[in-house]
């Protein structure tokens, strides 16, 4: 299950919303035993082409891919329920 799950957080440098999202993801990851290696961090200012290619319009944005299914979350992740819903769908049986 863990190999199939990939999570990408696109954030925008030190902007307030991005800083909040980074913190939230770290907290939830710890709480729910998310494999830290499964999370990729992309700073759109460092990798603008990547942002374009992946069509990241709004930051911060979280891309959760599980098998064929891809989910997108955008915002500072302050609404943890939305994040948990997505994670639950991606991995019905979290470790």
């Amino acid at each position: 299950m863990a190999e199939a799950l990939s999570i990408t957080l696109y954030y925008a440098g030190r902007s307030l919303n991005s800083a909040r999202a980074l913190k939230q993801l770290e907290r939830i990851g710890l709480e729910h035993g998310l494999d830290p290696d499964a999370v990729e961090y992309v700073d759109v200012f460092d990798q603008p082409q990547r942002a374009l290619d992946d069509r990241v319009m709004l930051t911060p944005a979280l891309r959760i891919a599980f098998g064929d299914e891809t989910s997108w979350l955008f915002g500072d992740l302050s609404d943890t329920r939305a994040l948990l819903d997505v994670l639950k769908r991606a991995s019905p049986d979290p470790a």
Binding site: S18, M57, L58
Partner: protein, 567 residues
């Protein structure tokens, strides 16, 4: 040449959008390196305007552009653009880049966000392409995702600063809605930007009219009044009363026939080539026939001609005109005459104007008949019709077209009160046909109310229609009044009878004189013969006398000789 409207312009550098009329309204184009807001309801034409400005910049001015599509997909936009004849694949991606930025339905929002991701990506693209123009189409879609007013203002500020730092000429489109929350957003956007334009597409009395208004344009003079516009085959055309696109052709002194001999005489040679002619009159006064006569005369000269008929089918028109001796069918068959019909209720005056212009150019017409132009002022169009007709005449002049427009006048008004459209002031020649009611008859009387640059008859002439066409009757006056109908006919007959009588008298007198002369000559001949005879007799007599005298002398000589000389 200086135009009054040129004064007070200038200051800020402008970037033309290539949209006819719009650039003129803004004193040259969009303010360069600044942001322009284009607001309007759904379907108002915001996206077309924006896309057109970008395509023009990329194609004509070598200014690369980026189009950020928040609502419609890039593929759809490109398909729409193809419909306007803008070949986008040729421009992509070096000169025009489309970024699909539509929020996806599977996106889940979790808290606050910003546009940094978008701007970071765009930053990269701007640098790569050297972009000068950028459009954010349907910015409202993104703003709608934000919860509170402060967040929106913050992001709008962020965007505005980002644009200013990069010296981009930007267009933001914003879809107007009914909610007050959106109204507050719009107010803030309008406050922030340097230039703001509002598009509307409202039905007025059942006819949809598009119009455009420049709400503000900092640091420059602009056209403050709303202007109608249409979305035609090649994009937006904003209709300004006075276009400066092309210099007017030189004023012509060439005359073209009106198709009616008597009318040409009244105008001392016909209409001027390139003139705008207005024919007014109540229903049934043969305005259409005059238009038809002009069209036929034009075709006889071999000139391409366009006849636009409102609310009357072409077949009926051809048939009716044929019944008064004007057969247009041969010219239609030859391809000289193009007859088109339009429904006055099925579109705004503006869209009709555009249709007329397209048809004229397509047919390469030199002569144009609009029958009747007053159809443009039907319900729902009154407010705009005057400006449209004015521009029609203006445009026809610039194209060097000879334009004949008929216009229906309400019988309750008198001609001099002006036509409902008040176009009489801009027409060069104004012909009025009206019924004269007198002595229990109604007759058509034609008069020339004005004709610029030419002498013209001031007399009212009776217009006669028969199967040989239009004829203007000779003028008969009585007691200072031009006679018409039966009274004219009577007068005409009276005159003819008088003429015939006089002719007969003369003939008789001539015969009398002939006879008298002949008689005198005969007498002269007889007398002269008698004289000759008398003279001959006289000569004979004289000769006889001399002879006898000679003989007597001889006799006396002989006698003396015989007497021995003593006598």
């Amino acid at each position: 040449m200086n135009e009054l409207s040129d004064f007070g312009r200038g200051g800020i550098e402008k970037q033309p959008t290539g949209i006819q009329g719009f650039d003129e309204m803004l004193g040259g184009g969009l303010p360069a390196a600044r942001t322009t807001l284009v607001a309007g309801g759904p379907g108002a034409g915001k996206t077309v305007l924006t896309l057109q400005a970008l395509v023009y910049g990329a194609r004509e001015l070598g200014e690369p552009g980026i189009f950020v599509a928040f609502e419609e997909t890039a593929a759809r936009l490109q398909a729409n653009a193809a419909g306007f004849g803008w070949n986008l694949p040729e421009l992509q991606d070096q000169h025009l880049f489309f970024l699909d930025a539509q929020p996806q339905p599977e996106w889940v929002q979790s808290g606050q966000f910003d546009l940094d991701g978008l701007l970071a990506g765009l930053d990269q693209r701007v640098k790569e392409m050297g972009a000068r123009r950028i459009a954010f189409d349907a910015i409202d879609v993104v703003l709608a995702l934000m919860d509170d007013r402060r967040a929106i203002q913050q992001q709008v500020h962020l965007l505005h600063n980002w644009l200013a730092e990069r010296q981009l000429t930007a267009l933001l489109t914003y879809k107007l809605g009914a909610s007050s929350r959106l109204a507050a957003q719009l107010e803030f956007l309008e406050f922030m930007v340097d230039c703001s334009v509002k598009l509307s597409h409202d039905p007025i009395d059942g006819v949809a009219h598009r119009s455009l208004r420049v709400v503000k344009c900092r640091g420059t003079a602009f056209e403050e009044n709303p202007a109608p516009f249409v979305i035609g085959r090649s994009g937006l055309h904003v209709a300004l009363s006075r276009g400066h696109e092309s210099p007017s052709p030189p004023v012509s002194t060439e005359r073209v026939s009106s198709g009616v001999d008597g009318l040409d005489e009244m105008l001392e040679g016909g209409y001027f080539r390139g003139a705008g002619i207005l024919i007014t009159g109540a229903p049934g006064t043969a305005k259409t026939t005059l238009g038809g006569a002009f069209a036929r005369a034009a075709c006889e000269r071999g000139e391409q001609t366009l006849f636009v008929s409102f609310d009357s089918r072409v077949e009926e028109l051809v048939r009716n005109l044929k019944s008064v001796g004007i057969d247009l069918q041969p010219a239609v068959d030859e391809g000289l005459l193009e007859m088109v019909t339009a429904r006055s209720v099925s579109g705004s005056a503006e869209s009709h104007l555009m249709g007329i212009q397209h048809a004229t150019l397509e047919h390469e017409a030199r002569c144009l008949v609009i029958d009747p132009v007053s159809a443009l002022a039907k319900e729902g169009n009154q407010r705009f019709a005057h400006s449209v007709v004015e521009r029609l005449i203006d445009w026809a002049k610039n194209q060097g077209l000879t334009l004949v427009c008929s216009s229906l006048i309400d019988r309750s008004r008198t001609a001099l009160e002006g036509t409902p459209l008040q176009v009489s002031t801009i027409a060069d020649t104004w012909i009025h046909v009206e019924y004269h009611e007198h002595a229990g008859e109604r007759n058509r009387g034609l008069s020339i109310i004005k004709s610029r640059g030419t002498g013209h008859s001031n007399q009212v002439r009776e217009m006669l229609l028969d199967d040989e066409g239009i004829r203007l009757a000779d003028v008969y006056t009585a007691g200072g009044e031009v006679l018409m109908g039966a009274m004219r006919y009577e007068k005409e007959r009276e005159q003819q009878a008088r003429d015939a009588r006089r002719k007969k008298d003369l003939e008789r007198r001539r015969l009398e004189l002939d006879w008298e002369t002949a008689a005198l000559e005969a007498r002269l001949e007889a007398v002269s013969r008698e004289l000759k005879a008398k003279k001959a007799e006289q000569r004979q007599l004289l000769e006889t006398e001399e002879e006898q005298a000679g003989k007597a002398e001889e006799t006396s000589k002989q006698v003396r000789k015989m007497r021995g000389g003593d006598g």
